[in-house]
Symmetry: C2
Subunit: 249 residues, 2 copies
């Protein structure tokens, strides 16, 4: 029953997509997730292409990734994706990462809205193509917690940068994947030598643009857990992130 | 005769791999080139995998790219690659970019050395696998100029940054593709609104590492041409780049 509801896409961990330890980076995995969301939706008639014609586009609101392992350089792996829920203004899309031996090594949950490209206002998903997206809702399990409400009270300013040419996507915004990269760049190599990212979350709050000064405020909330708030021009929140590390074995 | 000498690899311009104007970025194209070099060499028995076993690895020394056009978001394109020359210490590898209509829209030339991973000294390519790489030398035309000798005399310090987690590859070095990105990030969005990069060159001189401070010195040598020198810790040259712009039509 779930066969046509789940999309499966194959990848190889490319040499320049792995980190110093030879593991695929979280930002590249995030990029694959977003591409798979696009492939899955397009193949079923509710992708960006179709929506753009109708003047609507998908906007990523939340992303949570939890992994037991990461593909290594040159290893094949697959990403599976499906829609878990459709509400009027949001839809929940999940992902699973399957390694070259067929083991599921991680999951991801994402929350998306659809907006009108002129008014930037959210659209009614249940009205889209006569609500046909609901036909793809799938009860495949996704045994990780939902994206949490990330709070950063205070936090230390640990980095700031100006959004540059290579940060900017076709919509003129700093792209969603770049924030993942910038947040993980807040930690020294030593952190990644001893620990791996077990869970990573991102809550996208507002857009930022070329030339914006992005400030990164970091708060350590537990031995192995950090919250990060990214602000533009010093005050307006752009996104928040939660990183949970785990000792490498 | 050249059939097995040329490798052809298919790609799609992914949404997060295009810039604000919807065109594939030079750094992503560079990444594809390096991957194709790897595929082509591996399939013919002189790739990294085989060499690593023999304790040797390929090192990119020069890259020159010249383009009439760039693939747009969601467009299919292909990269073709072949070996033009093999000398004792260097080999010339060329690339062609073919768009979704089968038009060749650009070419690239690259120069590689093979080094011993322990001594970091160059190895004799003509001795590698009994010189079998020579069997793949191919006379396919590549109608762009060879990489030039880039000189930066003086130049203005226009940016500086610390090498971060996401800059570092499996060898512990700032990866070759990242330099392309950092160099192109030296120009404002307005430059890319009015102009496109017709020719891009990179000469890799020395490695840089996590935490290194990279300084970018830029010199305008003609109306449409810039040279950039990247230095670490203020003085040692890491790489040099040449960017030739052309008015967008």
């Amino acid at each position: 029953m779930n066969d046509n509801k789940i999309g499966t896409y194959e990848f190889v961990a490319e040499p320049f997509h792995v980190d110093f330890s030879g593991q695929l980076t979280m930002s590249v995995l995030g990029n694959h997730f977003l591409n798979c969301a696009g492939f899955h939706a397009s193949e079923r008639g509710f992708g960006m292409g179709t929506l753009n014609e109708a003047n609507y586009t998908w906007v990523l609101s939340r992303l949570a990734v939890e992994l037991d392992d990461m593909p290594r350089q040159d290893e094949r792996f697959a990403v599976r994706t499906w829609v878990e829920n459709v509400y009027r203004l949001f839809t929940d899309r999940n992902f699973a990462v399957v390694d070259h031996e067929g083991r599921t090594i991680g999951y991801s949950r994402s929350i998306w809205a659809m907006i009108d490209m002129d008014t930037r206002k959210p659209a009614d998903l249940l009205a889209l193509h006569g609500g046909s997206i609901v036909d793809y809702v799938c009860d495949e399990p996704c045994p990780i917690e939902k994206p949490s409400r990330i709070k950063v009270s205070g936090g230390e300013l640990v980095a700031s940068l100006k959004a540059k040419y290579s940060d900017i996507d076709l919509n003129g915004h700093v792209n969603s994947v770049r924030y993942i990269e910038h947040v993980l760049d807040l930690f020294p190599l030593d952190t990644y030598k001893q620990q791996r990212v077990r869970r990573f979350e991102m809550a996208y709050v507002a857009e930022s643009y070329f030339g914006d000064t992005l400030s990164f405020y970091r708060e350590r909330v537990a031995d192995d857990e950090y919250h990060v708030e990214v602000r533009k021009q010093g005050d307006e929140v752009v996104c928040r992130s939660r990183i949970v590390f785990e000792k490498k074995q």
